[in-house]
């Protein structure tokens, strides 16, 4: 009996922090797996339009992006311009861009390649139509118009 009283008088022991690294590692691995590094720096401002029927874009590794929007820096003008990878481009560069995107994928994946058009909502359709014509010429038929999901009013 005397033994028990002695132990209690020591006060509460410190919390065991040995498992703290494990918890942190768990979180760390979660973020490492889910993280997607941004590959390109955007030179154009893009605020996508809203749509209720937007669907998720699957298989991100098979998607090539074309950005169209007004440049961030005023000295490049205010008209919408096309950005491919890390630089401004013209409509004529698209065929080459798609060809190089195809090169970098397996033969089996080629028919699943999708082109995602990230276009600012104030862009005129003229540029977009030109881009679409180029895509048709080069045979990249699957396109995805990037939009934000808007909830349905019902």
């Amino acid at each position: 009996m005397a033994r028990f009283t002695k132990k209690q008088s020591k006060g509460s022991p410190g919390i065991n922090t040995a498992s703290l690294p494990d918890i942190i590692f768990m979180l760390l691995f979660f973020f490492m797996v889910t993280t997607v590094m941004r590959e390109t720096t955007l030179f154009v401002k893009i605020s996508p339009p809203m749509a209720t029927e937007a669907q998720k874009l699957e298989k991100k590794s098979l998607v090539s992006y074309i950005y169209i929007g007004p440049p961030m820096k005023v000295q490049f003008g205010t008209e919408s311009r096309i950005q491919l990878n890390d630089r401004f481009a013209t409509v004529d560069d698209i065929q080459e861009f798609i060809a190089s995107e195809r090169e970098s994928h397996d033969e089996a994946d080629k028919k699943f390649l999708t082109t995602s058009l990230k276009v600012d909502k104030n862009t005129k359709m003229g540029v977009v139509t030109d881009v679409k014509q180029e895509l048709r010429q080069v045979g990249a038929f699957k396109v995805n118009y990037s939009t934000l999901k808007k909830s349905k009013k019902q």
Partner: protein, 191 residues
């Protein structure tokens, strides 16, 4: 005494290292999911082959001009009524003479079903804003999805998006095809 010291590695700083890495990934991570409307572009036209003639009653004309106004079937239209109009055109519930014909087809999993021959033709100007174009595409996609939903509930008892059976999904797709055609670009209305 020396032996005991060797056996234990001080793991106190492990948490700090892990925290550092964790914060790095927390900052660089982007959780955005890409969403969008997926469409299939038609292959380029062969100039030598004449496009097959389509009866007037089978085409639903939508034009968007450079100031984002709609013309639907020759009359001024509105984005708010477009969905209903497209639905009525594609389903033709009362078999009206001026709405598209139907083609009885044998579909696996559905049996015989009258598939509409209707085609929605969308034409826009170079000066149309992208926002308006997407709104119209969205309304048309919604119209087709609603029709598919209706048929799916009637035949299989659940919404089209909830279907998991490949044959059923294919059957619904065949019964109500995504028949949106985009006209060859032309500079109409000037800008």
């Amino acid at each position: 005494m020396a032996r005991r010291a060797l056996n234990e590695i001080n793991a106190g700083s492990m948490a700090d290292i892990a925290f550092l890495l964790l914060i790095f990934f927390l900052v660089t991570t982007t959780m955005d999911v890409d969403t969008g409307i997926t469409r299939k572009l038609p292959p380029p036209l062969d100039p030598e082959i004449e496009p097959p003639p389509v009866k007037d009653r089978n085409i639903f004309n939508i034009l968007i001009n450079s100031s984002d106004r709609l013309q639907v079937e020759g009359k001024e239209g509105s984005i708010y009524t477009l969905r209903e109009e497209a639905k009525e055109f594609l389903s033709n519930p009362y078999n009206r003479e001026d709405l598209p014909e139907k083609n009885i087809k044998e579909i696996e999993g559905l049996g015989e079903y009258p598939v509409s021959k209707g085609i929605i033709s969308l034409k826009n100007d170079r000066g149309t804003s992208y926002d308006m174009y997407i709104q119209v595409q969205n309304e048309l996609a919604a119209a087709i999805l609603e029709l598919r939903d209706e048929l799916s509930i009637q035949k299989f008892g659940m919404r089209y998006k909830k279907l998991f059976n490949e044959t059923q999904i294919k059957a619904i797709r065949k019964a109500i095809p995504m028949s949106i055609s985009e006209a060859e670009p032309e500079n109409v209305g000037g800008n």
